[in-house]
């Protein structure tokens, strides 16, 4: 399996990663090699194997439905580059 440079651009865009044109070719080669490795593993017959969702062999613990958090807004807003009227401000989202 080999990836095209378009694939690399698309993957980078989906992950919101800025990739220099000079990096495209090496990334193309490295990622294609990784997929090649996966392809080798696909040769193994796994039809009788239950897919693993998590390496830990235990079920999810559940917590009771209780409100345990208190309002810490002012502290959290101080972490933000911009805030106003209790809101986090982000660059305008055009919908």
């Amino acid at each position: 399996m080999s990836l095209s440079s378009d694939d690399i651009h698309k993957i980078a865009h989906l992950a919101r990663l800025a990739v220099d044109e000079a990096e495209i070719a090496p990334l193309q080669r490295d990622l294609s090699n990784i997929l090649g490795l996966v392809e080798q593993m696909q040769a193994v017959d796994t039809s009788q194997v239950e897919p693993m969702a998590h390496p830990l062999e235990m079920p999810q613990r559940l917590r009771p439905d209780e409100v345990t958090e208190t309002n810490q807004r002012e502290r959290y807003l101080r972490n933000a580059p911009a805030a106003e009227n209790g809101l986090f401000l982000v660059p305008k989202v055009i919908e």
Partner: protein, 481 residues
């Protein structure tokens, strides 16, 4: 050409838990922005989600209510996309192994026909925050109070063939989740939101047409309007020789139209993968038993019972089981007055009209079920007539007391004393010689109708307090003499 629509719905119901699905923040609606957003809800590094037991129990109840296969082992997955009201850059959802598998609900069509609609699946996920696009110096404001509110997303099969069927299905799901108490059903606050997948094809064609997804539909009325608009739009495009583009469209209620979302879609490339922060959710028999032990009788069961136990028509029974509060009110009224049909007529007639006029829900009725039962009991024991009862009902509604108090205070007790009634009857006969002559000249089978005039006169004289059956009998005796 005849066209047929193929419609499937995705319904997001906010689960009525106190705290969020993965954090201990409150889910209460309407708080000041970001006062219910914890470090986990903000997507801060180093936090880990812990699943809310109640959200899981609610999903289990829903599974049972729609006779669904329960996902005994379900897995949370990350749905990756970037939007500022989703701080982690992914939504925790379920993908390959949802908690609720295939199930079904029945809807009642206009002609009284029952249609089964398949539910493909329902899965647990977290809600996103809210973006406020008002102008903050050219920036967007983000409120994360809603981020992490538990959702059960209910996905139907494409089994609906008209906007009406889609609305009937949406209402059915609404009835079930509010009846079970797993969703508060407040549509203004976004507790129950519908997306619709709509395509059209020539009638009789098996192959599906290209579908569009309609988002942003937040009332049952808009579900119907949005789908009807979209069907017409698609038919027009195809008849003009065009092609339908698979896309997401927004319904604009003000203009009653759908239009494509401007944001370029990344063709749903969400790159799902199992969330390593959460282990598989395993439900054993004890858990399921605990979660469903106190489940109320379901709306369809209750409807069937009202039909068989109380002899109600299918229509009456389905009206009276529109909500659990309505059904409870009805059954309490019947238990007090003892007449199923009379109680049904009053609740769907007088009471419904009064509630409607005052814009109240049945839970807020100023006349309680027991109070209405008392009133109806007074009709049944002939203390008052049905007509006077309406007057008593109005007084009860206005807070003037219970049925007996009002009847006593206003002197509305029905006159059943034969000698008093006989006096009125004699007076009426004496005052209307012409009608009496007509009556006596008429064929016996016409007389039955004609006696109504005299009954009306006597009732008027008595100010509605005479017992109409007795008056009727007395009149017939005297007129036949």
């Amino acid at each position: 050409m005849q066209w047929e629509a193929v419609i499937g719905l995705e319904i997001h119901t906010q689960l009525a838990t106190k705290s969020k699905i993965f954090s201990g923040s409150s889910t209460a609606f309407g708080a000041e922005p970001n006062t219910q957003a914890s470090l986990l809800d903000l997507g801060m590094p180093g936090t880990l989600p812990v699943l809310n037991r109640r959200a899981v129990e609610f999903a289990v109840r829903f599974a049972k209510a729609i006779d669904a296969q329960l996902g005994r082992r379900s897995v949370f997955a990350r749905k990756n996309y970037f939007y500022p009201d989703l701080p982690k850059g992914y939504q925790i959802s379920q993908f390959e192994l949802p908690i609720v598998g295939p199930g079904r609900v029945e809807i009642l069509l206009d002609g009284g026909e029952v249609k089964t609609i398949g539910v493909t699946r329902a899965h647990l996920e977290e809600d996103a925050g809210k973006s406020l696009h008002e102008d903050f110096h050219g920036m967007t404001g983000i409120d994360l109070n809603r981020a992490g509110t538990p959702l059960l997303e209910i996905v139907s099969e494409p089994d609906m063939r008209s906007a009406k069927e889609a609305v009937a299905y949406a209402r059915k799901i609404y009835q079930i989740v509010t009846w079970l108490g797993i969703c508060d059903g407040n549509m203004q606050e976004g507790s129950f939101r519908c997306d619709a997948n709509v395509s059209v094809r020539p009638s009789g064609e098996q192959k599906l047409g290209t579908r569009t997804e309609l988002k942003n539909i937040n009332s049952f009325r808009f579900v119907e309007r949005a789908i009807n608009y979209e069907m017409e739009r698609q038919i027009e495009v195809i008849e003009d020789g065009g092609r339908i583009v698979q896309e997401t469209r927004l319904y604009d209620a003000d203009r009653d139209e759908t239009r494509p979302m401007r944001s370029k879609e990344e063709a749903n490339d969400y790159r799902y993968f199992p969330d390593p922060d959460l282990l598989p959710v395993v439900l054993d028999d004890d858990f399921v038993e605990d979660a469903t032990r106190d489940m109320p009788e379901l709306p369809d069961e209750r409807r069937a019972r009202l039909t068989s136990e109380h002899g109600l028509s299918a229509y009456d029974a389905s009206m009276l089981t529109a909500s659990r509060a309505q059904a409870d009110y009805y059954e309490e009224t019947v238990s007090v007055c003892g007449d199923a049909k009379l109680a049904a007529n009053w609740i769907m007639g007088e009471l419904a009209a009064a509630l409607n006029k005052a814009a109240l829900e049945i839970e807020q009725s100023p006349v309680s079920a027991a109070g209405l039962g008392q009133l109806l009991a007074r009709i049944l024991d002939s203390t008052i007539s049905g007509k006077i009862a309406k007057q008593v009902f109005e007084a009860m509604w206005a807070g003037e007391g219970g049925a007996d108090e009002v009847i006593e205070a206003k002197g509305l007790k029905q006159v059943t004393d034969t000698s008093a009634l006989a006096d009125w009857v004699d007076e009426v006969i004496a005052a209307n010689p012409e009608q009496v002559a007509n009556y006596q000249a008429a064929e016996p089978d016409k007389r039955k109708k004609m006696v109504g005039f005299f009954v009306g006169q006597v009732m008027k004289k008595s100010q509605g307090k005479a017992n109409p059956q007795q008056v009727n009998e007395l009149l017939r005796q005297k007129l036949e003499e």
